[in-house]
Symmetry: C2
Subunit: 500 residues, 2 copies
């Protein structure tokens, strides 16, 4: 009979092999997005398909299922990491096994093709081109959740896919609380808005913006030995291990703040991944646990730290060193006002901290309505315009700046958007909890973020996927999630900023 | 019984899977050399080890051996490409099988470690640090060729490994012919050398050098859709498929010619790979057939085209457009003299066209002598200095600029150097043959290299590994290799350049 130690060794080898495939496919993807020749896309798609086929077999093959089953039956003899890795692996195999293979393969093809159709539709403002794909994507999602989660309401299942433990009841309460506070706040702000700061409209040479990026990474205490910055149309973070993380940004000569906050945002994602516990190396538990927790980290650094008065005080001197000509009239206070300027707008990714969640809310209500059969895909452009008017008071001029702006649905990600808003709110509660241990903005003002990184590292980063997100959050904050921390944070910040 | 069509389909699938692994490992390697974070090296080494272990199993496992054996027994029923792919696969498996696995694994570890020791030894001018590794590398090579090629003299086996069909008799004849012509020519040139052209010593901004690189790639008619330029310490070409080729260069502000000729050299390698026949896609026959043939292409574009008077005429106007301030005193004739300037020097990779082969000759004689037991590794520094003095008349100041300058031996590449010289000589004979069909330098002067690319594409590039290098060369030139073409080429060029 095989000993438990032998089974564990076999499982460790399997996970290590899967980590190698994950590294390889991750590098292929990142390389494809950053430096690979344009014409190599089809070849890369083929290579990724071969590798993902092999990975799928390794993860779900009969040998693996037997090994995992045997290990589960000996759960009592396993250390906590192995026990969790076994149960997480089995969970995903069991869910996967419920989906008919034909349907799964057809869906992969559908979303692979939908991406380029969406691009084309967005570029030509042609929703009708994309509509049949989007209808199939919603239909397939509905069917797939019927297989994997027959006991759950379909949108609850979708939410749970991206943020385990999240459901429509929690979302409704959360968004309800947000709307109640944010909408009136936004209106008061709008009445007080003045012209933008002149320095924020100037041109900043891109080669100097690259120097600023390096400086920002240093300020965040990111170990550059394990993390590099690439350049892409849409910024992202790719993580393969705590020893190999890539972030990307996009430089616009006429918008220095765009890349600055991309770097700080992606830097937050990177810190999370770089801070994984060594004990999780080469296991399926290495890596951030959920989108909501990941966004809580990225938006914490971007907004709670990066868009604070304290950070303005330490970053403005760096701006003046790097861009002496462009920043003669810049001071910390004016900079702070510029980076926090709030104004209802059309594009989610460019929205300010205050209005951001309303953009998410529009998507939440629409994707939920369609998945639940309340809305039709064909009505999306009209519904989008109505909701944008209702929540943000902006008029949508075309679908390119409306329903076609985000890639998520084309990639099959339905139920993903709420985690952006949730992450922002998680961060505010973490800030409050952190403040019980030390003076957070005092640390920022001193230029040494290490107490912040240490606190998040201990409570969030090192744990990888050891705990479900809700559990992890409650261990971190020693309390259940409460959106009040976020609305209080926004209210205090904007009341002060705009003298409301 | 399995039909031949079924066996062929199985073999095609195997080769296609191997091509995917090749693409993935190639991208991992290139990413590691170009943009990956420094600290990710150990992780990448681990990932590459996992993937290469799996590749090795796929290539040599019992299923593969049985499949290939069955296909070989049905050779008559196979198309030429499949027949060649089967025989090439079997050849490499059969050679591999002769090496005891323990010894093979130990050797892989040895060369993996030797690389960083060599780096350290080179940086600190400490040959003794590297010596024990180099001794083991030579010893292991000797033993391994004893297993794989028991009937061949050991250095013949080593040469054959990098350039099938090459042996010491051919090398001796080749290098003998070179020495006889080049040494006196070099002495005559030295007597006539004047001061370098001033424009070649100026500083050229790197961002403008990047524009020059793009221009050069365009002049070579390289399809940028499938080929990008990266930046590394040592330039190289990485090829994964005719749809994904990467070249790299290194920019020095004070040496614009360095990157220019790196780009043209690596561009030659890239053209070869981009010109592979579509019929070889996803087979083991896609890719250049040997180092000698590969260098014949890269050095053809670098020297025969790039360092020609005709190319000077078309590239100088581009220099003047990109670098108007730096090139006021540049004209085609002065440029041509500058890029062909010949002077004995210490470093092979920086050597000019005339003296280059003498650097190779030093390595040829030394590596052969050690492999054959005539020399000791411990004596290499002394022997190196003696040979450099004898052939080039230069004094070697230290091992960093002597025996430690090249990475090849540390990576286990013994028998590789001669292919650099051979490639240069191949190119000269190709030039002569090409000249029978059209006016080669007339084409260059017109700025349209397409007749040259077409000729090489038809005769060399498209064939991949379908023919052994000697066979391919003779099909291309319709004659056996004769070093006289190369010595005649050099004699004519330098007699004209220096008014000898």
């Amino acid at each position: 009979m095989t000993t438990t130690a032998e089974l564990k060794a076999k499982f460790a080898e399997l996970q290590s092999t899967l980590a190698a495939y994950g590294h390889a496919t991750g590098v292929l993807f990142t390389d494809g997005e950053t430096v690979a020749p344009k014409g190599s896309a089809a070849l890369r798609g083929r290579t990724l398909a071969v590798l993902s086929g092999i990975t799928y077999e390794l993860q779900t093959g009969a040998d693996t299922v037997a090994l995992l089953g045997e290990l589960r039956s000996r759960s009592d003899e396993l250390d906590p990491v192995t026990r969790r890795a076994v149960s997480e692996s089995l969970r995903s195999i069991e869910r996967m096994a419920r989906i008919p293979k034909d349907e799964y393969v057809a869906y992969q093809e559908l979303v692979a093709n939908a991406g380029s159709v969406w691009h084309e539709a967005k570029n030509t403002n042609n929703f009708e081109l994309f509509r049949p794909y989007l209808e199939k994507i919603f239909d397939t999602n509905r069917r797939i959740y019927g297989y994997t989660d027959p006991d759950k309401a379909v949108y609850d299942a979708a939410l749970n896919e991206y943020e385990r433990g999240l459901d429509t009841a929690r979302c409704d309460a959360f968004f309800g609380a947000l709307r109640e506070k944010i909408v009136p706040l936004m209106k008061k702000v709008a009445a007080k808005n003045t012209a933008p700061e002149p320095f924020s409209l100037r041109r900043y040479p891109i080669w100097k913006q690259r120097i600023l990026s390096d400086k920002l990474m240093d300020m965040l205490l990111i170990d550059r030995n394990y993390c590099v910055i690439g350049e892409t149309e849409h910024p992202f973070t790719a993580n393969f291990s705590r020893h190999d993380v890539r972030i990307t940004t996009h430089y616009y000569e006429d918008n220095v703040l765009s890349s600055m906050f991309s770097v700080v945002h992606e830097g937050g994602h990177a810190l999370y991944e770089l801070g994984m516990g060594e004990h999780l190396d080469f296991t399926c538990l290495a890596g951030g646990v959920s989108m909501g927790i990941h966004e809580s980290q990225s938006r914490f650094y971007e907004n709670i730290i990066g868009r604070s008065r304290a950070f303005s005080e330490i970053v403005v001197p760096e701006f003046k060193k790097i861009f002496p000509d462009e920043t003669a009239d810049m001071d910390a206070d004016a900079f702070y006002r510029a980076i926090c300027r709030s104004e209802p707008s059309l594009i989610r990714t460019e929205a300010d901290e205050l209005t951001y969640c309303l953009h998410v809310m529009v998507r939440y209500e629409l994707e939920r309505g369609i998945l639940e059969g309340k809305y039709e895909v064909a009505d999306l452009p009209r519904l989008w315009a109505e909701k944008m008017d209702e929540y943000l008071g902006v008029e949508v001029p075309d679908d390119t700046h409306g329903v076609l702006q985000d890639s998520h649905w084309s990639g099959g990600s339905i139920g993903y958007f709420p985690s952006y808003a949730l992450g922002s709110a998680y961060g505010a509660q973490m800030l409050a909890k952190m403040g019980e241990s030390f003076d957070v903005y005092g640390a920022v003002r001193s230029g040494d973020l290490s107490p912040i990184n240490k606190w998040l590292g201990e409570r969030i980063w090192q744990h990888g996927c050891m705990y479900d997100p809700v559990d992890l959050f409650e261990r971190c904050c020693e309390a259940p999630f409460d959106p009040k921390y976020f609305t209080d944070y926004l209210e205090a910040k904007y009341t002060d900023l705009y003298n409301l």
